[in-house]
């Protein structure tokens, strides 16, 4: 990666607050990261960690009344925070595209898949209906859809989950976006299909030159796919760094706990995966200190102050342990 070139996406101190019950609650708190061209960044976290909210903010899709978004998100040097909807609309679909978790509900049920892909193509360029369909069929073929012409005339409910997600990706890629945000693209799919879809995502970088922001709760998916990883916990960054490093030497107890919960891809599954006791705090009840402290086995007095995100090697870690010289043990990763 060329360190001098400006990154495709540079997010700094992105903070999202929503009004809940009459007061503003910070959902995403000062999240910063960069994404280079042709890079795949994984954002990992439990549900409610703010990862989807971050993605929606980048798409300009947060329209809850009273939502407040501060900080900066520069995409190709263009500031996205505060960008008017009209300007966002030209970016969406063409420059930044998004794939959603459940391809069943993400397609409008009353139109054929092909119609919906055509619609996106025609929304961003003067393309005839016929030309759009030709491109749609080619895209579907590219995504590994068998008999793409027939599938294009199918309604979403008539397709299998894997085909739907391929069609969804085809739709996302239909305008050659520079950035693809994939929000839990494999969660709703079964394991074999998951692997195929992830494979497809990795190919995209090669064949379409897209950067990918992959949002997931599944460390296994990250391990297979991402160049770099960012772990979010309760709206804040817990740890970020190159995937290999993060997996080999997790610097945050939360990361380590997440890694423990990955089912092994090969070999027998353990009867019961170790899971993190308790649940993440609701954004409104987030403690003043380290948000993970209540669930952390290493919690001690120092955790009463929110730890800053500090570099350690190639990683950035928001935990007092490394500074105290108590690194977590290294791990053996098969990825």
């Amino acid at each position: 990666m060329d360190a001098d070139a400006p990154p495709l996406l540079a997010v700094r101190d992105l903070t999202i607050a929503l009004p809940v019950g009459g007061r503003m609650v910070t959902i995403v708190d000062s999240v910063s990261f960069t994404l280079g061209a042709r890079e795949i960044l994984g954002i990992v976290g439990e549900s409610g960690s703010g990862k989807s909210m971050t993605a929606l903010a980048l798409m300009g899709l947060i329209d809850a009344p009273g939502a407040r978004i501060t900080g900066s998100a520069r995409f190709k040097g263009r500031e996205l925070v505060g960008l008017p909807q009209r300007a966002f609309r030209t970016l969406r679909g063409r420059e930044i595209a998004m794939i959603f978790q459940d391809p069943m509900t993400a397609f409008t049920p009353v139109y054929t898949v092909g119609w919906q892909i055509d619609e996106q193509i025609r929304a961003h360029g003067r393309v005839t209906r016929k030309d759009a369909r030709v491109r749609t069929i080619r895209l579907l073929g590219d995504m590994g859809v068998p008999d793409p012409a027939r599938v294009a005339d199918r309604y979403p409910h008539q397709l299998s989950g894997g085909l739907r997600q391929r069609a969804m990706i085809a739709m996302a890629l239909s305008c050659n976006p520079s950035l693809l945000i994939a929000d839990e693209p494999t969660t709703a799919l079964d394991v074999t299909v998951q692997a195929q879809i992830l494979d497809l995502l990795r190919r995209l970088r090669r064949e379409y030159g897209s950067s990918v922001l992959l949002i997931t709760h599944d460390m296994g998916v990250v391990a297979e796919t991402c160049d770099r990883t960012m772990v979010l916990y309760s709206g804040t960054i817990a740890e970020r760094g190159p995937t290999g490093a993060v997996f080999a030497r997790p610097g945050h107890p939360y990361t380590a706990a997440l890694l423990d919960s990955i089912p092994p891809l090969h070999g027998a599954r353990p009867a019961r995966l170790p899971s993190i006791p308790g649940s993440p705090p609701a954004p409104a009840d987030r403690p003043a200190g380290c948000p993970f402290a209540p669930r952390c086995g290493y919690a001690h007095d120092a955790c009463a102050v929110r730890p800053p995100l500090l570099p350690r090697g190639v990683q950035d870690i928001a935990c007092v342990l490394p500074a105290e010289g108590r690194d977590l043990p290294a791990r053996c990763v098969s990825a």
Partner: protein
């Protein structure tokens, strides 16, 4: 498919049979309902009364009378009124049907267009004063008794402002057949249309707005926005098109009920000799043959309309088409 149609037909026939038996029994259990003296005429002699009794079969057992009446209604179609001697009831109903259909179809057109416009606009401008204003307007529409609205409309258009430029075009009350004078048909019906539509504009615009607001949270709406479509396209092509399903099922029910006689208050106020008014008159006169004919018509129509709505549903929702509703 054929089985389903057959089952539906069976159910329908059963319902029709039940309703007709009920009507028949209630009629003969009502004191003063014995039509013999009414048919015979004022001050008829006992012999004349006896003759009428035999001629109309009132001396036969009730089941025989029932079968005879059904035969005359459906097979020979020469059932005659008990009130207007010699008046055939089947043509009477078929004469009234076009009036009701004209009234209800026109009103339906108005209420669908107006409520789609109002509901969509309100949903698009959710939370603004336009939204609040439109929804309050809808609520007012729901709250006005239709017969009162009709009376006030008559007061304004037939009397108070009839001589002003505003309403001088309004013809007297009553129906003008379309085949006879299309323009006259339109002018005679336009005020009843609007009057009947007001209630439904209120209901439908509120339902549609609620649906559209609910549908905004759906994944596919987010997808549509993520595709970079304009808000109008998202709302109309994705939101509205999907909400149309609820809308159509509501519409089917209401349309069927109105054509089946539910518009009688409007028909009464505007002097339209439609099915509802005919039923009401028949009930008021205790004219059993006419009651039977109108009730059967109403039931048959409601069933047919429901079937049509089901077809429309098939057309609108591919999921239903594949039997996975």
């Amino acid at each position: 498919m054929a089985m389903a149609v057959l089952r539906r037909l069976g159910q329908t026939l059963f319902v029709l049979f039940g309703i007709s038996v009920l009507v028949f029994l209630v009629f003969f259990a009502t004191p003063g309902a014995d039509p013999t003296a009414r048919i015979a005429g004022r001050n008829a002699s006992p012999q004349t009364i006896a003759r009428v009794r035999v001629e109309y079969g009132f001396d036969r057992p009730l089941p025989v009378q029932y079968v005879r009446m059904m035969e005359k209604l459906f097979v020979t179609r020469d059932l005659t009124s008990y009130v207007n001697r010699g008046e055939l009831v089947v043509p009477e109903v078929f004469q009234a049907a076009p009036v009701t259909v004209s009234l209800v179809t026109g009103a339906a057109l108005i209420w669908v267009l107006a409520s789609v416009a109002m509901g969509t606009l309100a949903a698009a401008l959710r939370g603004t004063w336009v939204d609040r204003g439109l929804m309050m307007l809808g609520l007012v529409g729901i709250s006005i008794p239709v017969f009162w609205l009709g009376q006030v409309a008559n007061l304004l258009t037939q009397s108070r402002y009839h001589d002003s430029w505003l309403f001088s075009w309004v013809p007297g009350l009553g129906y003008v057949p379309f085949t006879q004078d299309p323009l006259g048909w339109f002018r005679a019906l336009v005020i009843p249309w609007v009057t009947l539509a007001v209630l439904f504009v209120g209901i439908y615009s509120r339902v549609l707005r609620a649906d559209l607001v609910a549908v905004r949270g759906e994944d596919f709406m987010r997808t549509a926005r993520a595709k970079g479509l304009s808000p109008a396209r998202v709302l109309l092509f994705h939101g509205l098109r999907t909400s149309m399903m609820t809308f159509v099922s509501l519409f089917g029910l209401d349309f069927a009920q109105l054509v089946g006689g539910g518009a009688l208050l409007t028909e009464v106020v505007f002097g339209l000799q439609g099915v509802g008014r005919l039923t009401y008159q028949a009930l008021g006169n205790l004219d059993l043959p006419l009651i039977m004919a109108t009730v059967m018509y109403s039931a048959v129509f409601v069933v047919i309309a429901n079937a049509v709505v089901d077809m429309l549903y098939l057309l609108l929702d591919p999921r239903v088409r594949d039997g996975r509703a």
